[in-house]
Symmetry: D2
Subunit: 366 residues, 4 copies
């Protein structure tokens, strides 16, 4: 089944395998007239690039984007934007062994069952490199959203047991710490924790939070295309995400209505909420306050510790995974979460253009 | 924007408002030849019917389904199944006051912003009664899945601070306790807790868990249509859900790879996993073990306690919500979560039919 | 497979069988704030109602529409509009015989092959009564388009060999002649031709033309969602249509570039075309001139003349179809073609709202 | 709006402009396990390549395809197949003049109106080179269909007034004549006709017919996704097509039921039809006989004859189009029509896999 396409109006289609010739994305439905250049995309891609810190895989990839269509004279034309990143660090020999068995925590077994066989090199289509296309598309979405005053900010909230403190929140640290934490102290502790994990040939999980400011009230649709439902799908579709929360998330089940409801008030002549347990979404539609979401990321499944598994022939065996792997997925996934949120928000903003006759009459000058 | 339709092959479209003439659903893409009768639907609908216990709204609704198309000689014909439930307990006078102001925690403000006005009677389209269509469709999906040996079971896992004990798990209790808990002791404690909430004019939240057994490996698609992504969307699209977890969910961020990976082994000649932290899904595709998901439900926003809000004219005011409201949404939402899971699973099963040439050749007898 | 839903933003889902309880449609994505009342729909439905003239089936159907959702205080709310027409003239006994064999020119054989069995009463889902949902949705689309100055006009262009003369074009005649021809003289000739056909227990085909004025330039999308491609699908999806033409249609293959190109000129400060061979669409996008399309309709397949066929058991037999049938489908299909064109146009108009940043900035007041 | 994606299960997304870096397509949803190599695609692409005959543009393009993903060990993996053709013959200077004015019969004016500006080089996205992606995808679809015994054959039926004779039908001639006619005599006449057109600085139109054999009964869905409706959209979405016919097409309006109905009979124990006016489709579903469709193609709009038009500034002017243009689009469009038919058929075949419980039980071995 097709399933590599997301979005209704702003629509992306990703393609490519870890060890194929290239990976890429086609972004269709981007409104015409957005100023866009290669560097807008590259800046985002650089945030997920491997080989940049000691807590990321030593595998180096240039991950340099090529824009092949959809831009003319520095602006989007309204037609599909095709982008491609060549694979340059393909050491397929690393993966010859894993062709035969099923790595625990990976999609090897499920792909073989579904399709009859699989491209086993580096995980093939189920590799984290598939997110290159998402991030390239996310960069465009974020650029478009900025024109409407909408700003996204994602960061690592915790790695294993080490969480950030909101009192130390420093946005500049997100791009400067190897953990993508906005808290330099917590980041040092997390680095220490990861060093310990690596010593034990193990890996760690963590939490990514994404906040979105400047979202006008009214985005999202009331039933199945609720803004929070679309965000949940977009974020859960990132490999390794096992839970998605909106606003107070899992804590709401312990609250009471009196503490969980957000009162409306008037400020500077505008309707605002004096708290934001809802995370900026009511009834599936943005309410004008900050949107807040969190993704819970499982520990990297590729660990050097010996593990029990089976092979294609149905024999039990013990394996030790080799190769170049991140001890934690979280820091490099931060920009992926931000990208998926941007993609979802922009689609909702475009869909909302035709929500009422009043809007349309303004456009068609009736 | 259209947004009342869900699914790619098994596709449902819901319609209707809390106080309109009726609510309903059109289910398209159900395979022909499934035995189906009215009672299959009604049994499911009865599980979400109000007025059945003292912890549910005293508002009585017959909620009797009519099947208008798509069934012939007791079997589905492959054409759309239209189902309708008339609204019989419409006391619109209850809602005259709320037309003017915005209830905290509700979609009143966001609907007005998006559409310019709203059907304010009983929440209109944003009412929990919208889920009638989902449950009617879910009943069909569950019936179809049963033919493939797939069985769903959803239940209340906690209400406020009161959780069930897996040691006391008793499936028959789900349909017999007013809380839909599979633990009769916990249920009594939860009822007491809810009685206390009601005394304080307040409401409670809780957690619903859904487990799905008998799912063959191979359902779900690797990128955006991951089975967990589609489940997350389907469940998050239920009003009041603020978080969705798969398998170990939010706990994975505290785990290490060595404890979170599920080893593969051979049992009775078949590949199985010796643990199930993943909740039955690897790389977005079912792995043959039990699928586990949880939904976190916020407390009912309609509470009798006075609350601060604003009205359409931009004036601040204090309100006390009247009417007939559930002190907790969880027990009646259990069947809604089960329905959304069933709908998602069946669509994945149908989509998977064309995943490989081998399947198709079997069908077209090549 | 689901396939009863059409449109991306303005989206309709039809349901119902000829001899089921009712037929209907859910219209989702209609912009909020459109004034709409039952009579807007009924007027359109009355144009396809049977039993009104001697060249239409004598079967009487009230075909009275019920609106069940999506309208509040006389305006669309932006949520799904569910509409239903009860079946009142069901004489299932008429159809007991046809359960066993396959009528030539009908979908009996193909339904049985596809689904394993079929609702044989009156053609079931493949009956012309399925178009009731299309016409109800088309009435809404036409009403919305009128607010933007877009006006549709469909009529019978020919029945068998009898064609209208553009010199006699009289729009009022469309609703007044039994043939839906805008030429009273031609209509009389066509009635005579049909009377002759009926005497010979035979049926006739014909051509429907639809012209659309006031369409702004810019509707339609350049590749697969070309306005003419969407119109072709919408119109070809009406049972009995075997060809669709845009503008000069089949004649273009005989033209040369010099005679087929439409020159641009300036009139009253606006860009216009001095001819319209293209039928108002260039490169899949409306060019501001009149849109012209034609549908070629096959003769009613239900004829009283004896025909050769086979039955489900694989036996050859000769049949004589009984029952109440139109000698020509064309006059009652005129409003169906107009409806499908309206539905397609409105969807294109809504989709176009997000085509360029300039539009969106106007809307979001940047 | 997004609109560069077609299909529900077998889904293609095309991208690229005439004078951009490359053009391409992503094919998603191709079943896993289909043997596929570069040459399967290249053979198809060569059929639409320019510069091969004197009746095609002298512009040379290598049009050599690169496959970037989705194939492993010579077989499709079930994941997206990304294909790309670099543009090598870009003489943008040819097009500097047309940036300022609107060529009659082209999409220049409509693109400018819709998007605010356009990539004017060689028609940009509205160029016939956009069909490269369609043909690459069509080659895959045709290869897959062949595995089910389904064979497509498209050819030129007429160019201007010169039509083929079915008595002279010679399938080998399709690939050997410059006109793609299956009648060598007619082809010579058509070449002469085109030479005359070129002498007069003019161009010609024509008709393409596509026949499909071996289609099992049961493909297509009864309402909006009728096989003929999907074929009509797919074919009408090719630039320059102005009419689509199925079976007897425009002639049906002159027939009577008694001559237009196709009788069913038994042959070799199987149900067949003794005539095929319907062109292999009844009620939107394939009936097991040959599928027949025709596309009517307008004359190339780029002609050297002086034409009246306007420019962006709203000034009237006379232009003479220069550059390298085909005097007739038809021969190179033959493989495009065949490709669009193949894409549509394969999607219908995949969709049909889940039409009945019986099919699914066979697959899931219940």
């Amino acid at each position: 089944m097709a399933g590599s396409t997301l979005g209704i109006i702003f629509q992306l289609t990703t393609w490519g395998e870890s060890h194929g010739a290239a990976l890429g994305v086609v972004v269709d439905g981007c409104p015409a007239g957005l100023h866009l250049e290669k560097n807008d995309i590259q800046t985002y891609l650089n945030r997920r690039k491997p080989g940049q810190t000691k807590i990321s895989t030593p595998r180096k990839e240039a991950d340099e984007v090529q824009i092949l269509s959809g831009i003319f004279e520095g602006k989007t034309t309204g037609t599909p934007i095709s982008m491609l990143v060549p694979n340059t660090s393909q050491r397929s020999t690393d993966y010859s062994e894993i062709a035969s068995y099923y790595r625990p925590g990976h999609a090897d077994y499920t792909f073989d069952t579904k399709y009859g066989f699989r491209d086993y090199r580096g995980g093939g289509r189920s590799s984290g490199r598939e997110t290159i296309g998402r991030v390239a598309a996310g960069a465009i979405a974020a650029k478009a959203l900025a024109e409407f005053g909408i700003r996204l900010c994602a960061y690592t909230k915790s790695i294993g047991p080490i969480g950030i403190s909101m009192d130390h929140f420093d946005q500049t640290a997100i791009l400067e710490t190897p953990t993508a934490m906005p808290d330099r102290e917590a980041s040092l502790l997390a680095e220490q924790y990861l060093a310990d994990c690596m010593k034990q040939y193990d890996s760690a999980g963590g939490v990514i939070e994404c906040v979105i400011d400047g979202v006008p009230a009214g985005l999202g649709d009331p039933v199945f295309e609720k803004l929070d439902a679309d965000l949940a799908k977009a974020v859960m579709s990132i490999g390794a995400v096992k839970a998605v929360e909106i606003g107070d998330g899992v804590d709401v089940s312990l609250h009471n209505g009196s503490t969980n409801n957000d009162p409306f008030r008037i400020q500077d002549g505008k309707i605002i909420k004096t708290s934001n347990h809802a995370g900026g979404i009511l009834g599936g539609i943005s309410d004008g306050s900050r949107i807040i979401l969190r993704a819970h990321i499982k520990p990297t499944p590729s660990i050097f510790t010996p593990q029990e598994t089976v092979n294609k022939q149905g024999e039990e065996l013990e394996i030790s995974i080799k190769g170049r792997h991140d001890p934690v997925i979280v820091p490099r996934a931060v920009v992926v979460v931000e990208s998926m949120a941007a993609i979802t928000l922009l689609d909702a903003l475009l869909r909302n253009a035709s929500a009422k006759m009043e809007n349309l009459k303004k456009l068609y000058q009736i």
